[in-house]
């Protein structure tokens, strides 16, 4: 199966959007795929907006810049407003609706809404909201299976952070189940 995927992950700084994108890029690298991860960089701080784009392909990645994403993962309202219009027709939009009420979504894209904050708190740590969203994303796109991401968790969270592997796996599974 040919793989071509361009995704933008966006949210507040501190929500772990860069990490979500990196998890995908690491998984792609492990599978021998081509990938480019690009962060927005600038005078950004915790609480400000942050986003990254990831391109994944089994052939050469031409433009590393993602202008018309196949998928958008929006962790907050400003990100939704900024990136929903850029999404390809029939694209995938996954939104953390924790602080979003009554949004008028495009009707030519697939929309998945998750209160990722609530789900994360139920798991005991608000900070895994990002991996819930990531779980939803891999389930909805089928781009990677669970084990591919779990392998990245195990490689990325080492030393003191090794204790975070389990809760992140749980978060991933939670997200996958919501979409299933």
């Amino acid at each position: 199966m040919a793989k071509h995927e361009q995704v933008i992950v966006a949210g507040f700084g501190g929500q772990g959007v860069m990490l979500m994108g990196q998890m995908l890029a690491y998984a792609a690298t492990n599978e021998g795929l081509n990938t480019v991860w690009i962060p927005s960089y600038g005078p950004e701080t915790r609480g400000g907006t942050a986003n990254c784009s990831v391109a994944i392909s089994d052939s050469m990645i031409n433009s590393p810049v993602v202008t018309k994403p196949d998928s958008v993962i929006a962790m907050n309202l400003p990100s939704l407003q900024k990136f929903e219009p850029k999404l390809s027709k029939d694209g995938l939009l996954i939104v953390n609706v924790a602080a979003i009420k009554d949004y008028d979504y495009r009707d030519d894209v697939r929309v998945i809404t998750i209160d990722a904050n609530k789900e994360a708190l139920a798991l005991g740590n608000l900070r895994v909201a990002n991996m819930i969203m990531l779980g939803a994303y891999i389930q909805a796109t089928g781009i990677f299976d669970k084990e591919a991401i779990v392998a990245v968790f195990k490689k990325s969270f080492t030393g003191d952070k090794a204790r975070l592997v389990d809760i992140n796996i749980k978060a991933l599974e939670t997200g996958m189940k919501i979409v299933d």
């Binding site: 890029a25 962060p39 960089y41 031409n62």
Partner: protein, 356 residues
């Protein structure tokens, strides 16, 4: 070795270690800070030298000193910082000292911004220092090509006894892409540095002096001609480029670095529309790859230069073109990366123009 996912700046730093870099001297500036950050611990681990200098000017003069002692030396910076280093670069060229300089370009002039740019093309290819000198310089496209060139640059610097610059835009520094740091690259047969000023070492029995001062004009002219011979050799041997889809092309986009990569997307789209477009991608910025233009087929009626500057490389395209083909230019500046669709629109204009 399997490919590893690395951030551009970190990959360049590791490539320098792999390239045999003995010492790094630098001063922080966005968007290249991960280069010194990475080296600040990994140089020590490898028993090599890392110094964060008090300024760019200090850093480049430390580079001069260490290079003069025979070490393989690296400095990295971004546009305004590279501007500050120009005096030192001219002195190194004059004193025939090898060094590798990484420039992760950002918007200018002045402090400008911190987003990706190619606005230093003139500074890179013409030099901002005084005198008749050149810096061998490259503008790679992917992270793999970048790390391969960083490693090779140390050999090239030693071979020519001249500074070598790797000029990438901020995007290449900031992005992550899988790279093979042990990719097979050309290795050069290099003599020992008999000229190095490292005390009375070996059989020499005398102290080497390293200077760029020649008060006798005839002496200096002789020195200038000696340097020119090296630059002529670079022009002959170091022109690097890639021709992409040019065999049957009517229109060729001239672009380097990230812009060339974006242009590949443009070419894919336009080819599906039946527009015969290709890319001439300079890899060496100085020497400018004039030979590539000789290889373009007669069918090419127009060249479209696309840069993240307002037409700096385009001047070189004009010089090489000598009025032969129709020329057009499209540039974005200030940190804005041109999109594939924007470039496609510019190409379409040339199609219409040719049919009119």
């Amino acid at each position: 070795m399997a490919k590893v996912l690395m951030k551009g700046n970190e990959a360049m730093a590791l490539a320098a270690i792999k390239g045999g870099c003995d010492a790094f001297f630098g001063y922080p500036i966005t968007p290249q800070n991960e280069v010194p950050e990475y080296l600040s611990y990994h140089m020590k681990e490898n028993n090599r030298v890392f110094v964060q200098a008090e300024s760019e000017v200090a850093a480049i003069n430390m580079v001069y000193g260490a290079a003069g002692a025979g070490a393989r030396v690296l400095t990295s910076s971004s546009s305004p910082g590279i501007a500050l280093k120009q005096e030192g670069i001219s002195y190194m060229a004059g004193s025939e000292l090898p060094a590798v300089i990484i420039n992760v370009m950002r918007g200018g002039p002045g402090l400008g911004g911190i987003q990706p740019s190619q606005g230093d093309y003139n500074q890179v290819t013409r030099g901002g220092g005084n005198g008749d000198y050149h810096v061998l310089s490259f503008g790679p496209e992917t992270l793999q090509e970048t790390v391969d060139l960083v490693r090779h640059a140390f050999d090239l610097a030693d071979y020519y006894r001249n500074p070598v610059m790797i000029a990438v835009d901020g995007l290449i520094g900031q992005m992550m892409e899988p790279v093979d740091l042990d990719n097979k690259i050309a290795s050069m047969d290099l003599p020992t540095k008999e000229w190095a000023s490292n005390g009375k070492s070996g059989e020499r029995g005398r102290l080497n002096k390293i200077v760029s001062l020649h008060l006798d004009p005839y002496d200096l002219e002789k020195h200038n001609l000696k340097l020119k011979k090296k630059y002529d050799e670079m022009v002959e041997k170091e022109q690097r480029y890639e021709l992409i889809n040019t065999d049957d092309a009517d229109i060729v986009i001239v672009a380097y670095g990230t812009v060339a990569r974006v242009a590949r997307s443009t070419v894919k789209t336009l080819r599906e529309e039946g527009i015969k477009v290709g890319i001439l991608r300079p890899i060496s910025l100085w020497p400018f790859p004039e030979k590539a233009f000789e290889k373009l087929p007669e069918s090419v009626h127009s060249l479209l230069t696309v840069e993240m500057s307002l037409g700096q490389m385009h001047q070189d395209v004009r010089i090489v073109n000598e009025g032969k083909r129709n020329l057009a230019f499209y540039g974005r500046a200030g940190g804005v990366v041109p999109e594939a669709d924007e470039i496609a629109d510019e190409v379409r204009k040339l199609v219409k123009g040719a049919n009119a």
